[in-house]
Amino acid sequence: MQIKLKCNCGETKCLEWALVELQGVVEPQSTFQDRIQNLEIGILCRPSAQEMYTFTVGYHELTGSKVSLKKPLLVLKKTRSVDEDQSSDIKSGNAELEVIGIIRQRILFKTRPKALISSAMFNPTMVFASSEPEPLVKERSRASGSAVKGQTT
């Protein structure tokens, strides 16, 4: 079968999406795990005129910069026409793919997180768990997050 890649935005107006990339994983505290919708992950800040950014997640601050992608990324959305009969949902005969956006740059945080000591300003609902390389940091960040669990409720 063939799926035509649709693009309604045309040449001029393909809406740009933003991409924030960080090493490791951010996880909400266990009390928020089931209702993370609308939950704040962190604060993105541009401290100067340069394209340098900080991202504060829980008690951790990341430093990064905005970089252009060598090759753009297209955001595609898979859709399935509804006019097919119910029985044939395995057969994806009417699948469609549509370009709904483009990503040309990303804000990349590739440094290890810096711990912010004793700051009551931040809402510690999020923990930053660096997935690499040594598990020690993961342990530590979990510990700092759980330490303030009481404050959030």
């Binding site: 079968m1 063939q2 035509k4 693009c7 040449e11 933003a18 991409l19 919708q37 541009r46 859709t79």
Partner: protein, 393 residues
Amino acid sequence: MEQQNPHGRGADAVLNLQPNSSISIAYHSLFGPHDDLVLLEVDEKLLEEVLHQRVSIRGQPEEDAVFCTKSKTYGIKYVGTSNSVLLIPPSGRSEYYKNELDSHQTDNSKEVAPVIKVAPGIMELHEIAPRIDKLKLLLSEEPYSFADEWENEAADKYEKRMYSWDDLINKVQASDDELKAGLQALSAVEIDGYWRIVDEKYMDSMLQMLLHNRILNDWSLDALDEDVIMKVMKMDGFPEKLVQHCLHVYGDKLDGNEGKSCLWRLDEKRVCVHFAREVLRKGKMKLEHLMDEWRQKIPLGMCANFDMLEGEVLTERLGVETWVRGFRVCQLPSNPAERFTILFKERPKWEWKDLQPYIRDLTVPGLSSEGLLLKYTRRTQPNPEAEAVFSAR
């Protein structure tokens, strides 16, 4: 109370974040895995093709999908990441921002950029050779033959496995241009809306009849008048479409006869190779035997030359005798790995001059013919003067 949001939101706010300011990054009210959203990496050239809606994804459910532009085929590779890739849609996408004022619990005076999903990876494209062998397989199911003309027209059409252009696009993983080239390489012809190859017996009798008529009517092999041929061949029972096809397969149209009927010149090599194949069908034989029989078959005015049979026969020296056997490059798979496997099964060692006709049509994007040899063969050369010999790796 809707649409009164004075603050920038979404991707735009992040991308245009002013110096000395900040924005809250939060999970979207619709945050989730959103498996229907995928990221596809494209270079600027491919981007152009996509924006003009000239690309498609092709493949059967059980095949790895490929990405096709008009002229090229790309493999699609999923590349996962262990980083957290937060995707923030632009505020212009109403489907993601409809109820946002109601649902957002964050302080309304603060700018918020909502993350719709964390992308686990992206799709990358790399150019590949089209998977064109399937075309041969499909068209070989039901070659056009005399049976097509004897049968009661409409009755059996449904049972036949025949394919229209649209059927082929849906079944063969190749771009439009590559599919067209593939059809041409197979000498396929579109008959009543279906792409067919014509079986060899039928082609043979058509060519024989044409050559027979040429003698009867004293036509020149270098200037066959299309209108006249059509009229005569029609009386012999051949449909016009197939006679046309016969001329295309064995001849070339001559230019510069505007206003009048087209002239065709039969191609010596193609006609001769056709008759050599007829002889070689009998199996392994002595070279002299082939040459004798072959020369008897070819039309007057043409000259058979063993060099014409590159990629058609394998020769073998047994003592003082030379034996030949039909082995056609056009019947080998176009996938290099499969091709070399068959070649080395046929013969463990190949000299370059023998091997070359059987691999020169192979093309792999990003791999030169030297690279191809390096990848699939082992080259041995006992001394610098000796012929290089290729064997399996």
